[in-house]
Assembly symmetry: C2
Homo-oligomer: 270 residues x 2
């Protein structure tokens, strides 16, 4: 894999750019895919965003994000489900097949109940996903986010949920940053197989400067990215590879320089 044909810019990597700037940057850099974020789509307008991307010739690898199901009242929980249905429609409008689900924290500290509720919600969304031709990608987040961002914390767990739901609209998104530590990660990647709907990369810095915005450029950390990419390919995934980096320092660089560095490091380390 010595070309950029599978590379995708996850918009978060160039956070200071709006959607139009990110699309134009990708075109200049020869990056064929882009991973969009709903907040940036909303800022540009949904139809306008769809048009900008379509006109550019870029393909949309995924839309971030659905999920975040928990709520402290029945009304809030219903609003969250409705919002997920809107996210599915947005994904379809934007021309991607994958909606990434970040499943949120527990509303009341009960992790067991929160996890069961996530599964229940994903199941409820399947008919909507099917209707719009969207696949729901359960993205486990690193366990350090178990208290505030995601009760789904390992590929093993995401695989179990996807396996129980057992529907072609439901799969997993593997982000190297979130799962590289898993003791049986290679077995889990193999088990995920054709349920893999996305592969995200960045690096784990030692020390990690910030729990949210301290993620590293590929090659600057300790993750065995090529080994993981090879495993993901052997499991059957040959789709786009998104570079998603939350890093305050990176965001202070001009966007075109971020993309140039990202392309170099992708070719060298992924």
């Amino acid at each position: 894999m010595h070309d950029l044909s599978r590379l995708s810019l996850n918009q978060k990597t160039t956070d200071p750019w709006n959607l139009r700037e990110a699309v134009e940057g990708c075109v200049r850099a020869g990056i064929p895919f882009i991973g969009l974020w709903r907040e940036k789509v909303a800022e540009q307008g949904l139809q306008e965003s769809a048009r900008i991307v379509r006109d550019s010739g870029l393909r949309v690898s995924s839309l971030c994000r659905g999920g975040w199901f928990a709520g402290s009242s029945a009304r809030e929980r219903q609003e969250r489900l409705d919002d997920n249905r809107r996210a599915i429609e947005e994904a379809a409008t934007l021309g991607t097949e994958v909606l990434v689900l970040v499943c949120g924290p527990a509303a009341d500290g009960d992790l067991v109940a929160a996890r069961a509720y996530v599964e229940e919600c994903i199941e409820k969304l399947i008919p909507d996903a099917e209707q719009h031709g969207i696949r729901l990608g359960i993205e486990p987040l690193h366990p350090m986010y178990a208290g505030d961002r995601s009760v789904i914390v390992s590929l093993q767990q995401a695989n179990q949920i996807a396996s129980r739901l057992n529907h072609k609209q439901v799969g997993v998104v593997i982000d190297a940053y979130h799962i590289w530590w898993e003791p049986d990660i290679y077995a889990q990647i193999a088990a995920a197989g054709e349920r893999i709907l996305g592969f995200h990369v960045c690096d784990w810095l030692v020390p990690t400067p910030d729990m949210l915005n301290g993620r590293g450029m590929m090659g600057d950390g300790v993750i065995e990215l090529r080994r993981l990419r090879t495993a993901v390919e052997q499991a059957g995934y040959t789709g786009p590879i998104e570079v998603e980096i939350f890093n305050q320092q990176l965001w202070s660089m001009p966007g075109d320089e971020i993309l140039q560095l990202m392309c170099e490091r992708y070719l060298e380390h992924v």
Copy 2:
């Protein structure tokens, strides 16, 4: 459990205190156990530390820590094994039955090899442990330390290692902070059963102010401590419960106040 009969002060919770001060503090507070750290024992002198503890009437719940096996040369790896043998002897001298193993990071980024090497080292230490009547407690650390402190990151993984080694000298130490996020934690606690050699508690703060020294006093965070303690008891563990809190802010309080708060919160939340 409405008394302090199983409570242990892990010395790290009162980090500014030396060993003698911590022992005297426990006696004043009516705390019957103490968990010692090798660096603090060394500072006071091994024999002197053993004498201080013996004279106080306290029992030693565990010694922290062996482990940290990886090295970048054969010589360094041998030194680390030798150091673990010394730690076993120190544990015996101090009158505890448990040496806590924090297994260290990979020397070269290869997690798979590093994990196999940890298992190999623990196996090598079994005869020494047996000779001195010490049980080796594999303590999984939170996955956010996978890059710099421990390649053993879940109770599931520690259980698998202990189960493969299958020797009465080898067990696991369960620290709520490190394993509370595990999707199947209650099944893993049950599976650990009589291999549970220790139970440590503190709390997970949201947000976490520091990845190392940002741990919380029980009740200040999101961990379901009582539920975990009940599960650990149901699995058969009725030994001491160590409060181990790495927290810079806590360490600025007078030691006796830390112990008072710790006793209150232990009774209320654990």
